[in-house]
């Protein structure tokens, strides 16, 4: 008999041990660095519907994110940049496997080299664009096509004469006999149109470097920091300031990790503290610890099994699971047997309906989040659903091993002890709450800011701004990215974007002619045979000594005689000439191809859609995206809520079902109303918290349904459950991460409101009871 009775205990124990061992084995062998991300962009869908945001995403995770800026200063000679030390630092970084490139900014040798290349390739890189523009102007005159060489010569000579009155003409006079078409001066004109960069490097020597690995990976952080520290060690007397995405990513990871540890510990302590106040023999609460651990362990295991990569925020939000997972344990553990001979199996069967109703309705609601576009919301949906199922299973199996498991509550009574005055007061409060719930939400303001997903690190931002200022960054300009599926398409759109600009704008893409202009030049060369003679005559007529321009005529004839080449080889030639920071101004190798343009305005009206040009104000783009996801999350939440309510009506009679549905929904609207009246601005995570709070409040409405029907106070497990949940979420309310704070505060307020409703409900209905 004894063997037969103990068999279920052993089976339960074996199942629990096997589950715990499986989870431990999986989690211990997990590559946490590869599996867990702190990159904000990982919160976005990999295949974002908006192609342009996909480009921004690719851009932000590509080479530009690997840039590291370093500024060296000698405190003993603060006005003199330590150029030699900077060169040595760059050389050391280049020798490190962590860095792909390191160059000293303002190195005259490198600048001279590229300047020479631009001049040498002016006929391939600049002439086709110039010629196409002149031909368009000529076409507009309506003259016969065979008059083009003469018109072109006269126009070029007039432009040259006019240029000589410009301030820069004297400085460029050696260049003009070789470039009377002003191809290179026109390029330099961009610098005239754009305000000076205004670098304030002072006594700093500047080094620009590119890491090999992404700053969001381990390889892009610790080895980079070590290489910089090693390079700095060779010049201990110099002061080094540096910045890079890797610093932010590493700091973010470290802070979130410490946040997880702190929140988990505080959450557990809060739950145990609340429990100790409401139960006798508090040591018995230790029986709930394995249930919480198995719930969280199960949630971690299942989530990491299902997703290739999870954002760390999921685990921060997941720390609240201890407050929820304990609910089923409380309910099972605190229910006394109906009769002395009632077995655990009998008791479980008796409580199974509310337990399953509570757990499954919440799981159904959270499962709906799997249909969200936002990876973070999908991951939270899986994490919480899996954790709740594990918590229920673990509670049912764990207490099967105990002889008559019972945790006695310390408080048995309720608030339902007042008379008519108390009843009237409660009803008045209910009316006031109804008004708040109905009117307050209309005053809500919504705003999503991607920066709220991260911990603010003021010191790093200040250092970053200071270093970038040394490198000459100006807030008076804006950066625009023009993209296309092919290189020719991207360049054609860049041309259209630049043509539409009335303010100063410049792009490295102007060194590459549009594909159509390049092809036209290849075919046009033969038709310009008479241009040389026409240009000589036009120059002489304008007071120039035409023979001074022989270097140009020689180069012109050579360019016309040069064999035709492909557009791709032209782009490759240009790409090869660009080094260091200039390599980041365009992508001419793989789709999506793009060019950056700098505009001499902090903001400009959004370019027409057909220009496919987007501002690199990444935050604004992502904020818009988050706003879109908020509405998507709202739709899913409402559908989920509908399913939960539908399930409740399917399980319970309609009057009881109505009560179960109204309490959480009312609490939610009341909290939103109160926040609206308080002038709070809410975001996506308040909405997510509200959904979670409503699902949790359903539990309390379900567990207290019997008592409500009898007009008595709710059972102790409901109070314990609600207060421990409020405590654990209240802890999240202290998080320094704004979105976690939003989520924790919302859930705690909704849960407390629901508990208050459940507690006051019998008092308000006493007369009828």
């Amino acid at each position: 008999m004894e063997n037969a009775a103990s068999r279920p205990k052993w089976i339960a124990r074996l199942v629990l041990l096997a589950f715990a061992a499986g989870c431990a084995a999986w989690l211990l062998r997990l590559d946490h660095a590869a599996k867990i991300s702190t990159n904000v962009l990982d919160l976005m869908p990999a295949a974002e519907q908006s192609a342009e945001l996909g480009v921004v995403r690719g851009f932000s995770q590509g080479a530009p994110a690997r840039v590291v800026l370093l500024a060296l200063r000698d405190p003993r000679a603060p006005e003199t940049p330590p150029a030699a030390a900077a060169r040595a630092l760059a050389a050391t970084l280049r020798g490190s496997p962590a860095f792909a490139e390191a160059v000293v900014i303002g190195d005259p040798a490198a600048d001279t080299d590229l300047g020479k290349k631009i001049f040498e390739h002016r006929f391939e890189w600049l002439l086709p664009t110039w010629l196409a523009a002149r031909e368009r102007e000529f076409t507009a005159t309506g003259q016969a096509p065979d008059g083009f060489p003469r018109w072109l010569a006269a126009r070029a000579a007039a432009d040259l004469e006019s240029f000589l009155a410009r301030p820069e003409a004297a400085a460029m006079q050696e260049m003009l006999p070789r470039d009377p078409l002003l191809l290179v001066p026109a390029l330099a004109e961009q610098a005239r149109l754009l305000a000076a960069p205004g670098a304030q490097a002072g006594g700093h020597a500047l080094v620009w470097a590119l890491t090999r690995a992404s700053p969001f990976t381990e390889d892009g952080q610790a080895p980079v920091f070590a290489a910089i520290a090693a390079a700095q060690a060779t010049h201990p007397d110099l002061a080094l300031r540096w910045t890079g995405v890797s610093r932010f990513a590493a700091a973010s990871r470290a802070r979130i990790e410490s946040e997880i540890k702190l929140l988990n510990t505080l959450s557990l302590l809060a739950v145990l503290g609340v429990s100790a106040l409401l139960v006798r023999r508090a040591w018995k609460l230790l029986h709930l610890v394995p249930i919480i651990l198995l719930s969280i362990g199960g949630a971690w295991t299942i989530s990491t099994l299902l997703f290739d990569r999870l954002h760390m925020l999921v685990f921060v939000i997941g720390s609240l699971l201890s407050g929820v997972a304990i609910d089923y344990g409380f309910y099972l553990y605190m229910q006394p047997s109906l009769r002395p001979d009632e077995t655990y199996g009998d008791k479980l069967r008796r409580l199974l309906k509310p337990l399953l109703a509570s757990c499954l309705t919440t799981v159904i609601g959270f499962s709906l989040l799997l249909f969200s576009d936002l990876p973070l919301i999908r991951q939270i949906g899986v994490f919480v659903s899996a954790g709740l199922l594990c918590a229920l299973g673990a509670a049912m199996l764990y207490f099967a091993q105990l002889e008559r498991p019972l945790l006695e509550g310390r408080v048995g009574g309720g608030l339902a002890g007042g008379g008519a005055l108390a009843r009237a007061t409660v009803r008045l409060l209910a009316v006031a709450a109804l008004l708040v719930a109905l009117l307050g939400p209309f005053r809500l303001r919504w705003r999503d800011d991607v920066r709220q997903l991260d911990l603010p690190s003021a010191d790093l931002h200040a250092n970053d701004a200071a270093v970038r200022a040394l490198f000459g960054e100006s807030a008076q300009r804006s950066l625009w990215l023009t993209h296309g599926a092919t290189l020719a398409e991207a360049r054609q759109r860049l041309g259209a974007f630049l043509s539409a600009r009335s303010e100063g704008a410049g792009s490295v893409g102007q060194l590459l002619p549009a594909a159509a202009d390049w092809s036209a030049w290849q075919g046009r060369r033969a038709g310009l045979a008479s241009f040389t003679a026409e240009f000589r005559a036009a120059l002489a007529a304008r007071g120039f000594t035409a023979e001074s321009f022989e270097p140009f005529f020689t180069a012109w004839d050579e360019a016309r005689a040069r064999p035709a080449s492909t557009y791709e080889s032209l782009a490759a030639e240009l790409r090869g000439a660009l080094t260091g920071p200039l390599t980041l101004l365009s992508n001419t190798t793989t789709a999506p191809f793009w060019f950056l343009t700098i505009v001499e305005r902090p903001t400009i009206p959004p370019p027409a859609r057909e220009l496919h040009t987007i501002g690199l104000n990444q935050l604004a783009s992502l904020n818009e995206l988050f706003t879109r996801y908020r509405w998507s999350a709202l739709r899913l939440s409402l559908v989920g809520l509908g399913l939960v309510i539908g399930s409740v009506f399917a399980i319970y009679p309609w009057r009881r079902g109505l009560r179960i549905a109204v309490i959480p929904a009312g609490a939610c609207f009341f909290v939103f109303g109160a926040l609206g009246l308080a002038g709070q601005t809410l975001n996506l995570f308040h909405l997510l918290g509200a959904f979670l709070g409503v699902c949790l409040s359903h539990n309390y409405a379900i567990f207290s349904a019997e008592n409500a029907a009898a007009g008595t106070a709710p059972p102790v497990p409901v109070r314990l459950s609600a207060l421990s949940t409020a405590a654990s979420f209240g802890v999240l309310g202290f998080s320094r991460i704004p979105v976690i704070h939003a989520l924790g505060m919302t859930v705690a307020l909704i849960v407390l409101t629901s508990l208050l409703a459940v507690e006051l409900e019998p008092l308000a209905r006493r007369k009828n009871a």
Binding site: A65, T112, G115, Q173, A196, A199, L582
Partner: protein, 227 residues
Amino acid sequence: MPSSLVSISVHQWLTLLGILCVVFSELHAAEPLPLPPETLLADPANDPAWRDLFTKLAPTKTRQSKFEERRFFPFRKEPVVLTGEVRIVPELGLSLRYLSPEKNTLIADAKGLLLRDDLGRERTPPNDSRAQAATSALVRVLRFDLAALQRDFAVHGRREGAAWTLSFVSREPAFTTLLGTLTIRGENGALRAIEIVKSPTQRIEITIRDSVEDVLFTGDTLKRFFR
């Protein structure tokens, strides 16, 4: 953040555009004209023959003059002529207002050179060290900062009656290559002409006339012609 970091690349691009002319000038510069060694002034700050002139030339009063600039190019038969007004405010620096053929303002002050076009758009020389050296040297000459001038330039002087000529040859060969030799001419305590000579066919002559001292510039004028 990455977009911020890439703007450093943009800055580098602008810098490069700005120094294109510098680069080319270095590659194809003519040899500067030699000056007679006997005109070299060993210590002009303490030379009684020149000390007073430097004191007078150093801007202590506001001043406004008209000027004509003649630019000689080796590939052009006649010089290009530009006209305008020059304003000097000792605390703010020097401002050249070109009136023809294009309207532009060139400001030389303690921060260096600034070019402002008629639409108010501004441009400063590139941050390239060579261009910076050239512009700061120009500013020192135009401000007659004798201590700095003696440190950076070999000063040649010549007098013929009331007329005088001072030439400044940079001790830094790269600067001489870029800009050539700076010469100023005048009579008594008045500046009459500035010449920047790279070769006989490459030079700029600026003649100054109708000078008025102690001019009271209005706030609008100061804002428009200085920074």
